[in-house]
Symmetry: C5
Subunit: 301 residues, 5 copies
């Protein structure tokens, strides 16, 4: 995630970080070139058929609505993903409060909360396709870490381990029956959030939208020059380039926000959020917390 103030009007056009411009420059160039070619052929070689701008504008409105819809859907995925991680942070903090309210056994508290941190790291690894075993291993037994990492869904395995610990504490009489229910509910909440994250990661927007919207954008940009022939001179290529920037740009943004857990510039800062969890847990246990992550070159991973 990029954290920076809005650049001034002048610098705005030179900021490349977080911009999708580099990725779509080729397409923009191609559209501008096509326009120049159409103008040239129309003027020098043979009269090309014209499309009335009014006709194209209906098309443009429809395209705007489709892009708008897809963008909305992608942004909502992104924001839902952020909400889900916010929920994980809150649930782990609540777990710490519950342990403080229900248990007097410091070792139980430590084990439970360290398992929760390991859950966060392994969950992040699962979502990003990254290897976070080393991060998790700082909080759980090496052997147990090995066993858990061998599972198809390690984060789920940690939650199961936490549930077993709840059962163990209850059977040993270190917490009462009420606490067992309350802690178990909290774990159920974490399982729900985890499944929510997996849903966002594993279910992209329907592929058919991608086809429909991208094809429509290409067709629009191909037809546009024929509608702009009446506008004379060197302005037409510039104009089509600007339109291509708007439409291809929004499409590229959508593609990036559609996968909120990916480790890209506009993705969610899962590393930083896991660190927030580490801090909360450390403070809850009275240990020295690690420092919060700071954006590097405006970028928080």
């Amino acid at each position: 995630m990029i954290i920076r103030d809005n650049p001034s009007a002048f610098r705005l056009f030179f900021v490349m970080q977080g911009s999708v411009l580099p990725r779509i420059l080729g397409k923009i160039g191609a559209v501008a070139l096509l326009t120049a070619l159409v103008l040239l052929v129309d003027a020098e070689v043979t009269l090309l058929p014209h499309v009335s701008m009014a006709a194209l504008s209906v098309f443009g409105v429809a395209l705007s609505l489709f892009l708008g819809f897809r963008n909305n859907a992608a942004y909502e995925r992104w924001w839902e993903a952020r909400k889900l991680w916010g929920g994980i942070i809150a649930d782990i903090r609540s777990l710490g409060q519950q342990m403080a309210a229900f248990s007097e056994n410091r070792e139980d508290c430590r084990r439970m909360l360290h398992l929760a941190v390991a859950f966060a790291h392994l969950h992040r690894g699962h979502l990003r396709g990254a290897d976070t075993r080393a991060d998790a291993a700082r909080f759980i037994d090496p052997e147990e870490a090995e066993r858990i990492a061998a599972r198809l869904n390690p984060a789920d395995a940690v939650l199961h381990r936490m549930a077993a610990l709840v059962g163990e504490m209850a059977r040993a009489g270190r917490i009462d029956a009420y606490a067992r229910v309350a802690l178990s509910d909290r774990l159920g909440q974490l399982a729900l959030t985890q499944a929510g994250c997996e849903r966002v990661r594993s279910t992209p927007l329907p592929f058919v939208y991608s086809l429909l919207v991208r094809r429509t954008t290409y067709l629009y940009c191909f037809l546009l020059p024929f509608a702009l022939i009446e506008t004379t001179g060197w302005f037409a290529p510039l104009f089509t380039a600007v339109v291509a920037y708007v439409f291809f740009g929004l499409q590229a943004v959508t593609n990036e926000l559609e996968h909120p857990f990916a480790n890209v510039q506009n993705g969610l800062p899962l590393d930083a959020m896991c660190r927030i969890i580490e801090v909360s847990v450390a403070e809850a246990l009275g240990e020295t917390p690690p420092p919060l992550m700071q954006p590097r070159n405006h970028l928080l991973t």
Copy 2:
């Protein structure tokens, strides 16, 4: 569900999988043909009445808004359906955690979780109109499976069976009164999700929208050629074909997403999600999990 990367600009126009193009090619052709005919008659036979493009553009904006609304509604149904199944996965995992926290009886755990897997399979069968009794029978007693399959709503019957098991465990003293409430709450959650899925399946978008939007689309495509007569030459049929592609295409997408449980290319991968549940349950019970399903030819069923 189709799982594949976005095709490159060139290949984009030749990807047929997941595309709605094959289904609407006839309509697109008819619209192009009509346009050619109108042009021909206007040029050779008799002057046809013209519709001003500006007039048609209001119509086009209205149509875009209607299609956009219907598309939004269909997508929300699709995403809600996905959320509901994500909830089923989470609830069954939580059930496993609860059994780990509340019960020491391995056989109870196995019976309860296997019933949950059977629930998922029978629920899937109910939603898809498919016969999933064989899948369910791997997890429950053959006789019981027979009895359950005879019910009008087998998935509901399995939930009821699970509730009876909760009562049985409590009365036999294998779980305490708190666990009985907690497990019963979890089953209530599953019943809610199940009813949500049935709602999405049994209540399509109001039929009247379908009539209104489809009729409007046909009328628009019929009037469009008369507005394009002023655009000379062979471009008009191409243009109407493109517009027909956009409008009929969005309509076909909507029709497919409206039924998220159907076993179609853009439908939800219920088989794969049932497998995820099998894996979670197997890992919770310490059994060897089956492998996760992989997309075949980019397709996950």
Copy 3:
């Protein structure tokens, strides 16, 4: 609710069931006639003032947005109503599961669930303004039915009766204190859903919208002919008729969906949903369930 496949392109224009066409045919005719008159007067009698199409198109966009907003709001009411009834189905099923988990007394189970069915029937009657006492009386004591029917809100009275039964079971020791809380929570959920349905029924969309949107539609259709004079000949009446169909049609759809509980073609099938509840309860009690309702002539009431 109409349950049928999408008609083919040809049959589409002759399907009248579920269509709003019959209701708005008069308005469409009036608009077409007005247009013909305007054309005639302009051509034969005196030059009428023209409205530029571009000016009217802003008006058209605004109108589309208003109609779109109202349509959205009406559809959301309809879908929320469906969700609420889905919640009632789920809650009554959960109630059955809870009784199975918490009670061993078959008579209690039967009384409780039969009261729930009576609740559903009386609630449906309240929402539809229909007399459903006969349906409810099949599930409760005749005397009690009489007393309940005399209340201003019979469905609420049944819920209260169920709460009293919960208290009775608890005081007689047939369920424990935990079950009392759990069953009471379920009844609270039913009360919430019931109040939600009453909200949708008793609070239509603000009347002022109806005035604003309908007046605007009439004004638009009145001004449209003056903008279409430039389009020659017999096409203008056809075109205004089509536009009137789109705008008046959407308005008629909205009016129907705004009242989702009314017993109309596009209303919710409350009768069929009550039958689903009867089936679920019968299967939960081990009784022979009645058959599910089937659409008659594509219509489910």
Copy 4:
């Protein structure tokens, strides 16, 4: 709230009740007059500069979107407010059910539910800035009513009083520990709903929107005549009047719905909802309920 059927096409234009027309008639007249003046000056005195209609139409689309956004936000506030009050009705009914399930002491039931009715009345008074102490005093002790009315937030004070009563009942052994938790949860729910209503009342839409949208509407209506000069004759003033009606009308609707608790024609019928609560409580206590409120001259307050 206005409760009436949709007027017929003819009567539609003469219905003034609930209409915003009276309030914006002055603005509409001013716009029409300005248009006539512009036409006159342009024709008789000096050629005025013209604005191309196409240019203005972009402006019109933007304005439609802003008005549409603000309208959406206002309607959602209105509907959320209605949902919150529906929640209050449901919660008070549930409270009655809980008392029936948990308590055998009729006097406790009566005191608790009468406090709830007083809560509804005082809450209504707080939201409307009205004096509802007389209504509340019918349900609580005069002295207590006096003490409560002296608080800054009387409704909150009643909830606190109810919580104290819960504690009293529990300490006296008239309800058990489970009931204490359940009743306390219900009060927590009421507190949440109450805070939600206060939120809607005390936080209007950001003032900056009001400025932006109103200024834009005025500017649009001021520029419109210059774009309509080309449209000859007496039609231009009529046309601008209609456009002004649409834009100022929507704005006036928004202003009214933005404050859903105000005692205006399109506001929520808080009086009638408090009466529904009185009826429910009376029926729950076996007392004779007052009659439901009927709309007077189509108006329910």
Copy 5:
């Protein structure tokens, strides 16, 4: 937050408070100047290329949609932030009710609720980057205040302290096991709300939107004069100035609402809301409440 009635039509254009006009006046002037320059060069020096207005209008619709999307997202953040704070108010009131229902120990009540007020103040300080330790110190022990303020997340530390107090009360037998669970749930709810606020504060809208929308706005305003050349005379600069006001204005509004906790004119009145909490707590404890905050010069901070 600005609290004032809508100004009259005339005064509307002179209200500067809460307006974004001062901040965008430079940009508006620049656009007007550019337009004048383009007109001058076109008329006196050399014929400049023209852009057809119809072409630009597609661009304008797209821009309106993007700005509309971003505005929607920002407003939803603002309203969600308000909901979260409303939830904090409700939860602290509920906490007071729970203490009244569960505890007879006045000192416990006082300590718990004073900690809650301190939580609200420290949370506000965290969100605003302000030093609120003095406000919090009025409600907690000076030493404890010092220790808490040293934490990375002081608000979280207070919640943890409250959880420890719950544990202490339970272990000392001053509340029973049920109360411990209920109070602990309430704290979990507060932790969730707190994490929600942190989410809104720490996760702005994706930076890429800002780039895309702002660049598009600049490009649009740069191209507009070339489309307006055909509109003669001094009207063009006025017109572009108005369009610039609309587009840059909406952008400035969005920027302000995007950060709902910032201490700006259109930000949320966190100070006033903390005061509401102080009042509720004082009245719950039977202490003399401080006066509610009143807007100063229409401004509530």
